[in-house]
Structures are given as structure tokens and as C-alpha cells.
Symmetry: C2
Subunit: 366 residues, 2 copies
């Protein structure tokens, strides 16, 4: 073993460069969603060398747990997949103090941090750790490796607190908004457009609901001092087409983003009200639970102290919602600028990697 | 030759039964749109036996013209194709004083009337006649045989007046509404639904136009004593889908049905006004010209006397619009209940066939 395993020892090496090299190795293993076998093999192989970890491979997800019987269990998680390289990213290289390439920021930088924590910090940490590397995060939620784990192996995800290493630019983003997608159909009666009075135009039936949903501006909710704006958007409308027929059906898709102090049932009731009595075939097409910020949990309190006030609400939905649904207080905290994710200029700075590493090393040290 | 060629001689035979038998033969030659070769062969072969007709075959359209140098030229037209037998019609048979089967009313009954007029009335008529049998009426207007003829061989369609044998239940339906289909796009700016304030929802941009178009109730226009209701319908709306994206484009399809006293330009200007300044990419996807009733034309006046007040405006668009655009006053008049067209209970009564035949025989007799 290298001396890095000792607490604080990382300061004595070139931590940024070392994390950058590891991130680069990970970037050079292509792992578009659905093709994570090679990168999962790499991660699994590295973890199995660490005799103090119990490693489970579940499809292309890898879970590694220490079990020293320490006070608390902290779960740290990151996904192994990347979006496709449709808009090509810059080549994978170390340049100007950063690592470039597809997945650099979302989130092989974070995976490198996790892997180095396993190899150099977990054994001597004050808390037990669970490290979760999962597949298929960048595709439909129902295919996500975290979804699979939470349904089939929830015991592997049990922890006192969790940190998801999605890129947050080094900010702590506790909890997340919930996201509910709902579709509803408004019915009319088809007729020839030359005799529209024989029918009922479904677009006309849907208009008042579209007006109400568009006019609805949900309030901003403040929790643990964090402002969670809520949002309701008409994300889709589909009726008829370029034809001579009075449309008999108008389907409306809504997406509600709600603050973590509200329940799905509450939000659903509000959507029903806005859609009104003419809405039929109401269908919940996506139900991603909110996660409360839980900044009062000691593990997350510690992290919030370490980031020195760089705490902001998470607006998008992330897998912390799934962890919160399992009863695990969870927050987002990872290296790199999230705005660069999925784009042609993906990169993550070596200093950002080291900063995230050091904060997490301190969090798990207890 | 049989004696039927002599004016008035048809009264001496069983005209209804004879027309029924001919309609039945035509029904038994399947002729779904795009597969009219066999029925066009049948019609062409029958017409070529009549030495006083000049017969042209153009694809699967057949045009037969007498050229005795008589005072006026009357064009009589019918289409040879039927809709597919998706909802099966009753078997083709003569039963209870009617002919059943796919196309019975739309419009092999009418084609039988045309064919018998050619064989028994045209030679001795007071007017010269042009008989047009055409393909592809039941599909997109741009594929229609009448469209092809009007573009490539307009000289064959020249006439003083025209009667289209679409089923009208024995009513005279002069002229027709015009039909204009227009699509327009309303643009927003895409954003993640968790941060909708970074975008602009295209559905929201389109809503005022949808409101205006839905609220617009065009007036009823009276021409030649006939009331032409006009109509504007939102026939299609398409934006976004079941996603987490603020939609950046909302496409709206409109169909305007307008009275024959209005021009396309006038109606288009009105639609532009209703769509408003946010509408972009305005596209006219269908432009079917209106046909004025032209009941003051002697040929149509004569027919209106013969139907004894059973005159009503045509609401749907028919090929009379295309004939009117060529400068030929045109009306719809044909045997059978139009409500039975395309349905499982297609039929046309033998008495209806004979009635239509006798009225048209008198019209062309001059």
C-alpha cells in the first residue's frame, strides 16, 4: 500500500495530477449508456484489490462497502455512463490543468474521485462507506442502474446519508425538486371541417386547461434557508394534423417541478384541478420523488461547513430523489461545471477534482 | 343499336334495372384508388364502341367527347376509384331495389349513369357532351386524376357547364366552398423544465392565436339564394411531447372553408391576422378553390328546374372547384345518399339511378 491511505497523507503527493490521470483513464474507456461493461470491469477490478471492501457486481453496476462497524455509513455514488458523442467532445487529454473528453465533467471526474477515495481514504475513514458506481443514468429513469438497485437490492443502498457526485461546480446542492409528468386527453367529436357544427373540436375543449396551466405560477418554497422555485410547464400538445377533420382528441403533457416539502399526491391534486373536469385518461408518466435538503443531518452539516457557504438548492432532479425515497438524506456535490455536461467542451479542472476529493475525504473521516 | 338511343326511348325499358345491372358490373371490378386500370379498361372499351365519341385514355382517366358542333358543351364527370374496403361493405348484389357493395354510392352508381348516357343519349342530345371518368379522387388532391387532367390537358375539360356526379341524394348542389389549409409555427426557446425561466414556452406563445382562431366564427354567406356557412377550425396542434424540455416550437394547422364569393388572398389575409405577429413559417398546405353556384347558367338553371327546388349549397369541397378554376360553371348532382359513402352499408337505389339518369338526359337534350 502507498502511504496515501493515511489520513491527510494525500497532501504529500500531487493529488490533482493523480486524479486527472485516473479521470483520463476512465474517459478513455467509452461508456455510452447501455455499453458500460468495460468501464464496470475496470472499476470492479480496482475495487476487488481492496480486501476491506465487499464488492458486488449487479449488471453493470458495482457496489463496494466497507464494514468496520463504524458509527455512521456514508453512501457515495456516481454513474459510469455518458451521453453519446453525437456532438463530438474534445479529445481525451490532460491539458491546461484540466481533463477534456466526453464524460470529463459528467461524470468521470467524479468517478475518479470515488475510486481514489476507495483506494486511499475509506480504510482509515471514521465512517463506514458504500461506494455505488452505476449504469444508465443518462437515459430514461426506468432504465437507470440506481433505479434497478433501489428496487432489487435496496439493502445495498442503506446508509445514514448519501452524496451523489453529479457535477455541481463544487457547490453543495442538497435535496432536489420532485418531478411529475402527467398526460391527459381532452375529447371532442370528429366531423368534416366543412360541417364542423356536427362535431366538437378537442383543441377548443382543451384550451381553458392550457390557459389555466400556462397562467399558473407556483410559489417559491424556502427550506433550510434554500429557495426552491417550483414550475409547471405544458411540455407537449398533440391534436389532429394537417387534415380536413375536426380533431376528436387533444393530448396535453405537463411537467410539474415541486419543492421537497410537498407530496406527490398534493401536486397531483393541483394538476387535476388545473386540468379541470374535461380532462380524461389522466396518466402519470414520470414520478421522480423530491428529496428534502436535510442539511441538519450531521454528515451533510459537515459538508456544508467545508464548502464555506457554497450551498444552493438543486433544481433539476437527480438520483438523490431515489435515495431520499429509501429514507437516506442525500445531497449533490461533485467536481466540475454542470453547464459543460453533454456539450462539445466537456472538461473538468484538476484543482476542482482535488477540492472535491479533499472535502469528501474530510466528510468520511467523521 | 337498341332503340334506347332515341330521345325518350329509355322510358320503354326497365331503366332502373338496367342501370342497376351496369352499376353492379362496375362494383364487381375492384378499383381502390391507385388500382383503377381494370375499371378504366372496361369503361374505355365500352366507349370506344361508340363511333361518334372521340376517346382519350390518359393514365387511368378516360375522356370521351362528342363533337357534333352543337350549341353548348356539357361536361359530365365521375371518378372510377373507391376508398379501400377497410370497413368491409356488404357484398356486391342487387337486392331490395338497390345495389350494394363498395363504391355503390361513391360513385359507381353515378359512373353507370354516365356510361348509359354515353351509350343511349349523347348521340341524339341537343348539346355536345364531354364525359370524364377519372382516377384517384379518394386520395390526396395532388394525386387526383382531375387535377392531372386540368394541369396537363385543360383543353379536354373545356365546356360551357359541368355536372359532377358525386352523390347528392338527387339534390342539385351548385358550386362549393373553397378550402384552405395553412400551417404556422410559433417559436419559443428550449430550456430544462426545472429552470423554465431560461426558456420560452412555444405553447404559451401560440395560445393567443389558438384563442383567436377558436373564437372566430366566420359569417354565413348567401349566394344565388343559397346559404354557404363558412368555417375555421384548428385541425392540428403539435408541440413537444412527454419530456423535460420547455417546447421551442408549436405548430398549428388551420382549415378554413370559405364561401365562393371570397378569394383565396382575402381568406389568407384573414388567417394571417388571426394567427398574429408571432406566427412564423406560414405554409399553405392545401389550396382548393371555391366554385360559385352559377345557377344563372342556362344548363344549371335547367337542372335546377328539373330537381324541383331540391337545391342546396355544397359544403364539402369537390372537383367542381377545379372545374370552376378552369372557368367552367359547375355543380354537383348525383344519385344516392352521400351519408352512406365509404361506410359498411354503401348502397344506391335503382330508382335513384333512374331519376338521376332522366334528369341528366333532359339537361343534355337542351
Amino acid at each position: 500500500m502507498t502511504p496515501y491511505g493515511a489520513p491527510g497523507a494525500s497532501g504529500g503527493t500531487d493529488l490533482p495530477a493523480e486524479l486527472g490521470e485516473l479521470a483520463l483513464r476512465l474517459i478513455r474507456i467509452p461508456s455510452e449508456s447501455g455499453s458500460e461493461a468495460a468501464i464496470a470491469d475496470f472499476v470492479e477490478e480496482r475495487l476487488r484489490r481492496l480486501e476491506f471492501l465487499e464488492v458486488s457486481r449487479l449488471g453493470d453496476a458495482v457496489v463496494a462497502r466497507s464494514d468496520f462497524g463504524r458509527g455512521r455509513r456514508v453512501l457515495l455514488a456516481g454513474h459510469l455512463d455518458t451521453v453519446p458523442d453525437t456532438v463530438p467532445a474534445q479529445p481525451a487529454e490532460l491539458v491546461d490543468g484540466a481533463v477534456t473528453g466526453r464524460g470529463a465533467v459528467d461524470m468521470k471526474g467524479g468517478v475518479a474521485v470515488l475510486l481514489r477515495l476507495a483506494e486511499h481514504a475509506v480504510r482509515t475513514a471514521g465512517h463506514d462507506c458504500t461506494l455505488v458506481f452505476y449504469d444508465m443514468e443518462e437515459v430514461g429513469s426506468h432504465r437507470s442502474g440506481m433505479n434497478r438497485l433501489s428496487r432489487l437490492h435496496p439493502e445495498l443502498l442503506r446508509a445514514d446519508a448519501a452524496i451523489l457526485l453529479e457535477p455541481t461546480g463544487g457547490w453543495l446542492e442538497p435535496g432536489c425538486q420532485g418531478s411529475l409528468r402527467v398526460s391527459a386527453a381532452f375529447r371532442g367529436r370528429a366531423a368534416h371541417t366543412a360541417r364542423p357544427w356536427q362535431g366538437v373540436n378537442a383543441v377548443e375543449v382543451a384550451l381553458p386547461a392550457l390557459e389555466r396551466c400556462t397562467a399558473h405560477k407556483p410559489e417559491v418554497v424556502t427550506l433550510d434557508g434554500l429557495r426552491y422555485p417550483q414550475a409547471l410547464q405544458v411540455v407537449g400538445v398533440a391534436a389532429g394534423g394537417d387534415s380536413n377533420v375536426v380533431p376528436d382528441r387533444c393530448v396535453v403533457h405537463l411537467n410539474a417541478r415541486y419543492a421537497p416539502n410537498r407530496t406527490k399526491a398534493e401536486v397531483l391534486a393541483e394538476l387535476r384541478e388545473l386540468l379541470g373536469p374535461d380532462a380524461t385518461d389522466l396518466d402519470v408518466t414520470l414520478d421522480s420523488p423530491a428529496a428534502p435538503p436535510a442539511l441538519d443531518h450531521p454528515v451533510l452539516t459537515r459538508l456544508s461547513e467545508l464548502v464555506e457557504g457554497r450551498v444552493r438548492p438543486k433544481l433539476g432532479w437527480t438520483d438523490v430523489g431515489r435515495l431520499a425515497a429509501l429514507g437516506v438524506p442525500a445531497a449533490n456535490f461533485g467536481p466540475g461545471d454542470p453547464e459543460l455536461a453533454h456539450g462539445p467542451r466537456e472538461r473538468v479542472g484538476l484543482a476542482e477534482l482535488a477540492e472535491a476529493y479533499e472535502a469528501l475525504e474530510k466528510v468520511i473521516s467523521g
